[in-house]
Symmetry: C2
C-alpha cells in the first residue's frame, strides 16, 4: 500500500529522533507524511544518547524497522556486565566525604538500582539519525525548511505552513517535533509568552571524554568501568564507559545561582579550572577525575520547561510532541524515551483516524483534532511529571545535607523516592497507554458526533 | 495453646493502636507478651483516625480479631458514596482564586483520585483502643508504667526494663511502640541526639467541628458532604463529614516560618481569628468556613522525624515500631497505616523466631536480633519515605504558585506525583513484604550460623 494515495496528510516539523521515528510510524500506517527540517547537520552537543529497554520496546511497536535501525547504528548496552551479573545498574556514590582518614580514596556506595539485562542501550545521536533517515522513503524529509507561520482556518480545511525561505506547504495536521526551541510551541502559545520558551534550570553541565587507563588511575578499575554518579552538595558528576571501554564519558552538573543572560547561546566555551574549583572540597577521586577533563570544555546551560509548562499539547490539528512539548533536564536520562512513547501514542492515534475517515471522509479534521486532544490527555501528565521529576532528583543528588555529617541519614532517605521515580520511567505500561489512547479517542469522537452542533 | 508456657517473652512499650495490635498478633503466635503503658487515659487530640482499605487488610492478616474490633468500635467509611458511585475519593480544590468575577463562590476542582469502595474507614481513636484492649487477655497490659531505662547485656541474656515508679521487669526482646515522644528511641540514640526527638515541621494545625447545615451554607451541599482539600499559597484546609453526616471535621494547616520554642507543649490554646487572618485573601467559601470554627481552638504544632530520621530501627533485641520509629506529619493520613504494616511484619517475624527456637533454644537472642535487623531492612525505606512524602505533598498543596496566575499550570503539574505517592500507600503489596521478610530473616540467620564466630 506504501506510496498509494491516502486521504490523510500529516506534516512533521523537525527531523530529530522523535520526528523521524514518528514519520516511520505514520508511513507504516499509510499516512502521507512530510518532515520539514530546518538544518542538515547535527550539533555535537548531546552526541551520545541512551534509551531504556522499555523505550526500545516502544520503538519496536512503532515500527520494527526503527529498532533495527537503532541496532544497526551501533547501539551498545551501556553496562559492563560480566557472565556473573550481566545487568545494568544505576549507582550513587558519596562524591564528597572522606569516611576514613587512613583511606581518603574510599567512597561509600550509597544506593544501586538494577535496571535489568540491557537496561540501557546507548548510541551516537548522529549515527542513529542517519540510520533512521535510511529507512524513510526518498522525498519525505525536506531539509533547510525553517517554519515561520502556521495558518489553521476551518476544522475541515488544510493547515498552511509558511517557511522562512518564502515557500509554503499544506497538510491536514501539523506535529511539532522541533525540539526544545520549538517554533511550533511559540506559535501555539504566542511570542513573549513564557510558556513558549524553555527556561534556565540553574544548573550548568561540563562534559568530557577521558581515556580509560587514566580514569582507572583516578577511580580504580571497578568505578571506571561501570556507571557511577558521584553526588554531593550543590553538584554531581556522572560517568560511564563509552567507545568499547576505551574511554569514559564524564559530565559534571553544577548549581548556579545566577541567571543565564543569553537565551540564544546555551553553550559557551569554558576551562577545566572552573570544574576543578567547583569540586575543590570533594573526594580525591572526584578531584582527580575533574583534573583529567580536557583543558578547554563546553559549558552547557541546562534549560527545560519546568517553570512554565505547556497548558495543552494541541490546539485543533496542531500538536506538540517530544522536547517541543516537554523539554526536560537530563537527570533521568529519559527525555528521548518520553519522545519515543509520544511517537508510539501518535502513530496508534493515526490508525484510529484513518479508520474513522474510511467510514466518513467528511470528519477528517475533527477526527485529527480529537486524536490530538486524546494525545494531550494521555501524555501530558506523565511527560510533565518527567520534567518535574528530573529537577527533583537533581535536587536530591545535590542536597546540601551531604556536607553535614549530622544530616547524612536524612539525605540518604531520598533513595526510596529516586527508585520509585526510576521504576516509573523504566516499567512504563505502554500497552495500557495504547488501550487508554484508543478508548479515549473513540469516546471523544462519539461525544463529538452526538453533540447537537456536531455531524453524525 | 494460648496461655501455655512459651519460650519467647516480648515486652511492648506503649499501649497505643500499634502496640495493642502487635500484642494481639504476638499472642496469636503463642508469644508471651507484656504491654507497658505510661497512662490510662487518651488525649482528645488526634481523636479521629482513618485507615486505608489496604491497612484494614493488614489488620486482618495480623489477627482477624483486630479487624473485628475495629469494625465493632464504630468504624465507618469516610465517603458519602451513593448507589451510583459508592467509592471514596480524595479531592483537591482551588481554595484561593476567584476564577469568575460574576461567581465568586465558584471553586475550580483541581484533581480527584479514586480510592475505591470503602477506600478509607474512620473511627474514634479512644473507641478503637477500647475495643483492642477487650480482645487482649487480662494481665497483658500494665498501665502507669513509664519506661526509664533499658539494659541489654549479652545477646542471650534478658533485657532489663526499669520504670519511673521504681519497678522493673525483664523480657527477651523490647519493642518500642511508644509514639512520637518515644523513650525507647531516646534510649537507643542517646539523650541530646537530635535523632532521639521529633522536630517542628513549621506547620501549625487548627481543628474544629462544624454543624453540617452551617457547612452547607458556606460550601454548598456537595462540598460539605464530601471530603475536600482546599489548597493555596502557604496553607490548606481539609474537611470531611463525621458523626453520620451531622458535622464536618475541618483542619487548617498553616505554614509558620518561626521556630516552635516549647518542645514539651505541642498544643496551645488559640483563637479562631488567627485562622481567619491566615485565609484572609482566599476564596469566600474558605473564609466562610473558617468563620464557622469555634472561637476557641487548639493550635497544634506538627512535629515529625523528617530532619533527623532514625539511622536504624533496632539495636540487638530492642526495636522501634510505629510513630516511635517514623512519626510523620499527617498530610497523607497514613501514619497509623504504616504502624499497622509494621505490626504485620513483626508478628510474622515472631513466627519465624518461634520456629527457630523450637529447633535450637540456644539461639533465641540471636534469632530475635536477626528478626529486628530484618524488620529494619524491610520497613525503614518505606516508612522514612512516608515521612518525607508527607512533607512533600504538603509543600505541593501549599505552593506559592497557586497565588500567581502565570504559574497555575506549573502548580497543577504536581498531581501526577501526588497520585503516585497516594497509590504507593494504598496499593501496598503486603504479601510481597511478608515474603521479603521471611526470606530476609532466613538468609540472615543462615549467614550468622555459618559465620566463624557464630554457633551452628
Amino acid at each position: 500500500m506504501l506510496g498509494e494515495e491516502t486521504p490523510l496528510e500529516v506534516a512533521i516539523i523537525g527531523g530529530g529522533i522523535v520526528g523521524l521515528m514518528l514519520a516511520n510510524g505514520l508511513i507504516r500506517q499509510q499516512v502521507k507524511v512530510k518532515v520539514y527540517e530546518q538544518a542538515q547537520s547535527f550539533r555535537e552537543i548531546g552526541a551520545g544518547m541512551a534509551f531504556t529497554a522499555n523505550a526500545t520496546r516502544c520503538m519496536e511497536l512503532i515500527d520494527p524497522a526503527i529498532l533495527a535501525a537503532f541496532r544497526s547504528s551501533g547501539s551498545v548496552a551501556t553496562s559492563n556486565g560480566d557472565a556473573q551479573d550481566p545487568n545494568d545498574y544505576l549507582r550513587w556514590i558519596d562524591g564528597y566525604n572522606r569516611h576514613y582518614t587512613d583511606d581518603p580514596y574510599y567512597q561509600r556506595m550509597l544506593y544501586k538500582i538494577d535496571a535489568g539485562y540491557k537496561g540501557f542501550e546507548g548510541c551516537r545521536r548522529d549515527q542513529f539519525l542517519e540510520a533512521l533517515v535510511k529507512i524513510i522513503p526518498p522525498g519525505v524529509v525536506e531539509c533547510k525548511k525553517r517554519l515561520d507561520k502556521l495558518g489553521q482556518k476551518g476544522m475541515e480545511e488544510k493547515i498552511l505552513m509558511e517557511f522562512c525561505d518564502g515557500t509554503s506547504a499544506e497538510a491536514d495536521a501539523v506535529i511539532g517535533c522541533d525540539g526544545i526551541k520549538s517554533r511550533v510551541r511559540e506559535i501555539l502559545f504566542g511570542q513573549g509568552n513564557p510558556a513558549s520558551y524553555p527556561h534556565y534550570t540553574h544548573k550548568v553541565a561540563y562534559r568530557g571524554l577521558i581515556p580509560m587507563e587514566k580514569a582507572i588511575q583516578a577511580l580504580g578499575e571497578y568505578k571506571a568501568r561501570n556507571q557511577h554518579n558521584h553526588i554531593g552538595p550543590n553538584a554531581h558528576l556522572i560517568h560511564y564507559p563509552v567507545a568499547n571501554q576505551t574511554m569514559i564519558n564524564a559530565t559534571a552538573f553544577i548549581s548556579d545561582s545566577e541567571d543565564w543572560t543569553d537565551d540564544k547561546q546555551m553553550v559557551v566555551p569554558a576551562s577545566r579550572h572552573v570544574v576543578e574549583d567547583a569540586f575543590a572540597g570533594w573526594s580525591p577521586c572526584v578531584r582527580a577525575l575533574a583534573s583529567l577533563l580536557p583543558e578547554k570544555l563546553d559549558k552547557w546551560a541546562v534549560f527545560d520547561v519546568w517553570d512554565y509548562p505547556a497548558p495543552f499539547y494541541n490546539r485543533g490539528k496542531i500538536c506538540l510532541a517530544g522536547d517541543a512539548a516537554h523539554a526536560s533536564s537530563p537527570h533521568h536520562g529519559a527525555g528521548a524515551c518520553m519522545g519515543v512513547e509520544d511517537a508510539l501514542c501518535l502513530s496508534n492515534l493515526m490508525i484510529q483516524v484513518s479508520e474513522s475517515i474510511r467510514k466518513d471522509a467528511a470528519i477528517k479534521g475533527r477526527a485529527l483534532s480529537v486524536a490530538f486532544e486524546t494525545f494531550d490527555a494521555v501524555r501530558r501528565g506523565r511527560t510533565q511529571w518527567l520534567v518535574n521529576s528530573s529537577r527533583r532528583v537533581c535536587d536530591l543528588y545535590q542536597q546540601p545535607e551531604w556536607a553535614d555529617e549530622t544530616r547524612w541519614v536524612k539525605a540518604e532517605t531520598c533513595f526510596e523516592e529516586i527508585k520509585d521515580r526510576s521504576l516509573k520511567i523504566w516499567h512504563f505500561g505502554y500497552y495500557g497507554m495504547l488501550e487508554e489512547t484508543i478508548q479515549g479517542y473513540r469516546q471523544r469522537l462519539k461525544l463529538l458526533q452526538v453533540a447537537p452542533n456536531g455531524h453524525g
